[in-house]
Symmetry: C2
Subunit: 241 residues, 2 copies
DNA sequence: CGGCGCGATTAACAAATGTTAATCAAAACC
DNA sequence: GGTTTTGATTAACATTTGTTAATCGCGCCG
């Protein structure tokens, strides 16, 4: 089986590729797999022999500590390579866990290694992807330092709205959010109770609707302004690199 | 002028390079520059035409917001490339600012471009460096979510101790910290007053000394255990990549 | 229909952190 | 030596967030 069309979304969106390069990408062999909510897709520890492309659902990166605490450092959506970072590192520093049911495709590291030796431009493309991930990390750091619970929820929803739009998963400003208030608290680093306080505030101000796993932004622009969301950091515009 | 010997620290530490590769690195031409405390080395906005290697002092990455708030997302020490991330991105999302006086060396992007076209192994080395930066970002996210003010200070000092050791800037568990309590608060995301509360706690428990810009860890192992510091994430051990 | 279970909600209280402003202490300056 | 400056410290109070536990509401299942 060869790689799904999500790779086109994932990799071709932000650069200009030759037909040959696209063909190389399309011919990458993959191994599909499915997971249920809460499953560990990639385990913290030694770097895996495969890289994992998310094609359906969502996944989190969760750092696991000795005291069993789990901290989420990133949220992934279809089209994301969830562990490309491990490509050159000796250990992966976090679990990747299914957030709701999800489908993935594994690519052997050896294949990426070969591409990376033979096609400098395509390595740059993979590198670019990890750079965008890093940019997202920095935005999370800044967002968490600046915003309170209410605002962080708004910022996250703006971010999901923008990222999911790119892969065609937003309809009328509504998209699927396969998690409940407890899990949202886990993602944003808040207690369940406090998440509930903030969610109710959102309902009161008519900026978003959230029920049965589906979120709709009622006024994306006003929400973005309120929480200082600037989609620039998602690097969604194509360029020649 | 060619690149300082810090590049050897910076780039060769974590991989096995051929003599030819080392020679390529040594011959990279650089432009040196100096900055005073608070100077902007690289300004948020369009990606610069040069990449900046820090050779002396410290620098922060600071995200600047419309309301003038500044949030620090990373702290750099000698041997770090502070803006390699901008290499493939269209915009740099933060300022890089001198934290105390510091010296840097600029490398033209064009030179890196050329190396990246001609020598896949050296690109991987640069890529690796940005991956380690990203790992540090994730650790910061996790650290800030897990630890309180007192513990965050301890964690930062463990991290600096480990990173500065690599470049030979630690003597008897003591190293230079060119900042005061207010700036520490800025780096960790706390108010000055709260930093002071935490710093005093540290004095009381005899885990570190901090005065006149110099920090000494009195019991590095106990401190590391207390704050859950695990140097693995710094990827300090060499490997073949 | 009726009970069960799970997520949402509420309440009451505790802990961490922010804000403002005043004071202190030591270094820097003249 | 006296003054100024800067950073450290303290106090008092406000806000945000966490913790625990009880309750509610609704869908699901027997």
């Amino acid at each position: 089986m060869t790689i799904s069309r999500y790779l086109e979304y994932a990799l071709c969106r932000r650069d200009t590729l030759s037909e040959l390069e696209r063909a190389i990408l399309r011919d990458i062999p993959v191994h599909p797999a499915s997971y249920r909510d809460g499953d560990v897709i990639i385990r913290q520890g030694a770097a895996p022999e495969q890289s994992c492309l998310l094609v359906k659902g969502m996944a989190t990166r969760e750092h696991r500590f000795k005291d069993r605490a789990r901290i989420t450092s990133a949220l992934h959506i279809p089209g994301d390579f969830v562990d490309l970072h491990a490509f050159l590192l000796t250990e992966i520093d976090h679990d990747v866990m299914a957030l709701g049911d999800c489908n993935v495709e594994f690519v052997d590291r050896a294949v990426l290694e070969q591409i990376s030796r033979e096609n400098p431009h395509l390595i740059r493309l993979l590198w670019l992807h990890t750079l965008i991930d890093a940019k997202l990390h920095r935005v999370w750091i800044a967002t968490r330092a600046r915003l309170n619970a209410f605002e962080r929820i708004g910022h996250l929803m703006c971010e999901l709205h923008a990222r999911l739009s790119v892969v065609g998963l937003v309809e009328n400003d509504a998209f699927s959010c396969p998690f409940d208030q407890r899990k949202l608290g886990g993602i944003l680093g808040y207690s369940t109770v406090h998440m509930n306080r903030a969610v109710q505030k959102f309902r009161a101000c008519h900026l978003l609707e959230w029920s049965r796993g589906r979120v709709r932004l009622l006024d994306p622009d006003r929400l973005a302004a309120l929480v200082g969301f600037d989609p620039e950091y998602l690097e969604l515009t194509p360029a020649r690199r």
